[in-house]
Symmetry: C2
Subunit: 200 residues, 2 copies
Amino acid sequence: MSRASAKTRCDTVLKRGAERRDVLRALGEVFRAHGYEGASLTLITDATGLGKGSLYNLFPGGKEQMASEVLAEVDTWFECNIYAPLREASDPARAIAAMIAGVDQYFHSGNRICLVGLVALGAARDTFAEAVDDYFARWHAALAQLLQRSGLNRRQAQRRTEDALLTIQGALVLARARNDAGIFRRALNNLTARLLAPPE
Amino acid sequence: MSRASAKTRCDTVLKRGAERRDVLRALGEVFRAHGYEGASLTLITDATGLGKGSLYNLFPGGKEQMASEVLAEVDTWFECNIYAPLREASDPARAIAAMIAGVDQYFHSGNRICLVGLVALGAARDTFAEAVDDYFARWHAALAQLLQRSGLNRRQAQRRTEDALLTIQGALVLARARNDAGIFRRALNNLTARLLAPPE
DNA sequence: GACTCGTTGTACCGATCGGTACAATCTTCC
DNA sequence: GGAAGATTGTACCGATCGGTACAACGAGTC
């Protein structure tokens, strides 16, 4: 998942990919709900409505390929809706507000889990280590770069970016743990202010 | 896991509990490494050195009881080493520094995962929902109370406490995802400053 | 030493795991 | 319509899942 392929990925016309998209979406929800190990083929066939035959025809690599493609799909979404806008933004305040809005939308205001974070914590981390690291690394790079353009020095930009990413992850964990999506909403609000604060 | 039993739990003399403690410790590491679903009995027997016979003699309730007792053990550790000191502290600054130091120690400076957070994200959340919520709720109560005593109003104390807990969780996730324990260390440093900052 | 009773290893249980084989079916193109 | 190729449901595979049964073993007690 290199930076170079990012642009083309976003503009790709999905000829016969529409239904595959639907399958990937369903797969994503199964993995989110049960984790990589917990997502049994029975659960997967139920969620997708596809039999094993179709499933292994679509994903010859089995469960690993399914999860891998789901992660790639997540990555693409963030690339198009979060990272690219951050990189191309001229107005930092607007860009940050847009990022927060995008994150809030993607995670259903705290009612949806971060699949990448979930995979990172589980035993499957090693299998998908590259995709996991890449997801956060590219987010980090895009946001830190924007913060630097907005006037922060490199060190401050790095620190604030790290803070932003872990705040989002932590808010998702805590919101889920305490079954209180308000935690996520409040964290995002607070985060906006912290990111937009003047250099210290 | 009620608040009332907290005190006695800490002072309990473990007559024949010493070896059970060791087993629970090993169990904890297996669950941390593989999650609840992923921790198969084979992995468990390997990690504990106990056969199934001994295991089901010690834990008639099977895997669920094992995980339940491990969570209780985690809870006890935090009760004794984190929550109780926070409640009984007279000097807020010292208490917060002690909390951060305890957290850093427990999570091996970012190289160890939060089992409660992991369970919260997984499918086993519902099974252990009460223990999970309780863990964070008691931490929240103890810290918020201390912050109020240090001069913050209720609202600010709540906000900062929520921020502290999710920062710790998020830092653990991100540190693991990016395989960089430095993220956790930096987050804890930053958190100390934020908690000790004067009322806004 | 014999009796007790908690502890342990081991064989085994049905269910389910991820994955494969393959015949039946559906499309597509001529 | 019919040949060709992709797509699908279903039966099946060995391995492993969490859990049980039980006989062998162990430390105490008399």
